[in-house]
């Protein structure tokens, strides 16, 4: 991997990891960390199309996420089945269809990500989008926490629950679409969940928890990508393994309420 590519990958990883870690602290609070997993799988057909037709995998992932979310919403309106069950229906079907067309040598990229071909332009766009996710998550953070305490309490304080949930979902979709570039469709849940869990183990308050998630997310990406440069193993795997090691170490210092 060329030096410039490596630096761009580090910058991109630092931004995506930070945004995913910060948003992850909200997702763990809402007990929605596994949603990242389902949505990650939903991106696989989009990544497949991007790999076949040679456009950006994050763009493909985002298009399919939007398509998948609309499909789930339509099914829910028609059937009144639970949203999580319909998510399972859509993501399982989309993965099956994707693997019919996905060339065998591209399978690993779709599942585990690939950071070897990054341009300056895509790094800038990813940094801007990650920053946007962070700022939007920061804006809704306290409202979301109050909604977790009591939705009625939040509504009575004037929180627009529908709008806040919508912003939250858009942030998740964007984070997943960005995250697939580093860790692929298979491991996006880990990108948002593990740093937040690590931070929760070590935090005394909400501030430490949210920013801790951000720091651990970013650090895991930087160390994982550096390890990829040194070892040649898949960057996605190394990022998640680094994050998991942080989590294991945090177990030694767990703060209990």
């Amino acid at each position: 991997m060329a030096e410039i590519q490596f630096i761009l990958a580090l910058i991109m990883g630092a931004f995506i990891g930070a945004a995913a870690g910060y948003l992850g602290s909200l997702m763990v609070t809402k007990r929605a960390a596994l949603m990242g997993c389902s949505l990650g799988h939903l991106t696989i057909p989009g990544i497949t199309l991007a790999l076949i037709y040679g456009f950006d995998v994050s763009l493909g992932a985002l298009l399919f996420l939007a398509f998948g979310i609309v499909l789930i919403w339509l099914f829910e309106r028609r059937t009144k089945l639970p949203m999580e069950a319909l998510t399972a229906v859509v993501f399982a079907s989309s993965v099956a269809v994707a693997f019919l067309y996905l060339p065998e040598d591209e399978t690993k990229i779709a599942l585990l990500g690939n950071i070897s071909q990054i341009s300056l332009l895509s790094t800038v766009i990813i940094a801007i989008l990650s920053l946007a996710v962070f700022l939007a998550s920061k804006k809704i953070f306290s409202d979301m926490v109050l909604m977790s305490v009591s939705e009625d309490l939040a509504k009575a304080r004037g929180v627009n629950v529908g709008k806040t949930n919508f912003i939250y979902l858009v942030c998740i979709a964007l984070t997943v679409a960005l995250g697939v570039r580093i860790v692929g469709g298979l491991l996006t849940a880990a990108l948002v969940a593990i740093p937040a869990c690590t931070s929760r183990n070590l935090s005394k308050n909400l501030f430490q928890y949210s920013y801790g998630g951000m720091i651990f997310g970013s650090l895991a990406c930087i160390i994982g990508i550096t390890a990829f440069k040194l070892t040649g193993f898949d960057a996605g795997l190394l990022v998640i393994i680094t994050s998991a090691i942080f989590f294991l170490i945090s177990l030694l210092f767990v703060r209990k309420s």
């Binding site: 926490v145 009625d152 509504k155 009575a156 304080r157 935090s203 308050n205 909400l206 928890y209 309420s257």
Partner: protein, 230 residues
């Protein structure tokens, strides 16, 4: 003439085609304590939620102020599985100064160091006082409480009511309170609204709380004893 703070006219609520509340009308004056009584499923919580505009309703609800504080039933307040939210951070949702928080903490009898404790780490009694402090910290004119004494023993219940009575007197508060506890009606209520999906009775406790109305509210089998000194 008392200043009217709330007027409710022909309020009705439907869930999935089922009429949960119908034709509820009453009004609340400044400084009044209105207790809302009724069995489980009578629509008491639904009424408060409709009054606050948290759910769709038919009819008319007119508040004279927007300075309202609301505490939902305690079983609807999540204390487990939350992030490490401290009490101080919980009060930051209200955007008030730390001095104000400390002042109200003193008034409800909570130590200042409790601010550093986590939301889920308070005892039931401390949690209740903390919620009352939270409701009062931004100087509301009207308080809406839903089952404020949930899970509290008799001693704790008395303390909570005394605390509310103190603030009501000091601040000339208007209070709407949902409860199952009839004792609070005699000690603190100016008016009582008996509900069972519709308005069974409404007015001064001494005038309307009789066996007939309570039977109609709670169903058959209820007996009602009034102490001579009560």
């Amino acid at each position: 003439m008392q200043k009217e703070m709330l007027r409710v006219e022909n309020l009705g609520v439907q869930f999935d085609g089922e009429q949960v509340l119908k034709n509820i009308s009453f009004n609340v004056d400044k400084g009044e304590v209105l207790v809302i009584l009724g069995p489980n499923g009578a629509g008491k919580t639904t009424l408060l939620r409709a009054l606050l505009g948290l759910i769709p309703y038919a009819g008319k609800v007119s508040w004279k102020t927007k300075n309202i504080s609301y505490l939902p039933p305690q079983e609807l307040i999540q204390r487990e599985y939350l992030p490490p939210l401290t009490i101080e951070e919980f009060f930051k949702f209200k955007k008030v100064s730390k001095d104000k928080i400390l002042k109200i903490f003193k008034e409800v009898g909570l130590p200042a160091d409790l601010l550093r404790r986590r939301f889920g780490a308070l005892s039931t009694g401390q949690f209740q006082r903390m919620l009352i402090a939270w409701a009062l910290v931004d100087d509301p004119e009207i308080l809406l409480f839903d089952e404020i004494i949930y899970g509290v023993d008799i001693g704790g219940k008395q303390t909570i009511y005394s605390l509310l009575h103190k603030f009501w007197k000091q601040r000339n508060l208007t209070i709407l309170m949902v409860t199952h506890d009839l004792s609070v009606v005699w000690e603190h209520a100016d008016n009582v609204l008996c509900l069972n999906k519709k308005k069974i009775c409404y007015g001064e406790p001494k005038k309307i709380l009789n066996t007939k109305n309570l039977k109609e509210t709670y169903g058959g089998g209820i007996k009602f004893y009034k102490h001579k000194h009560g």
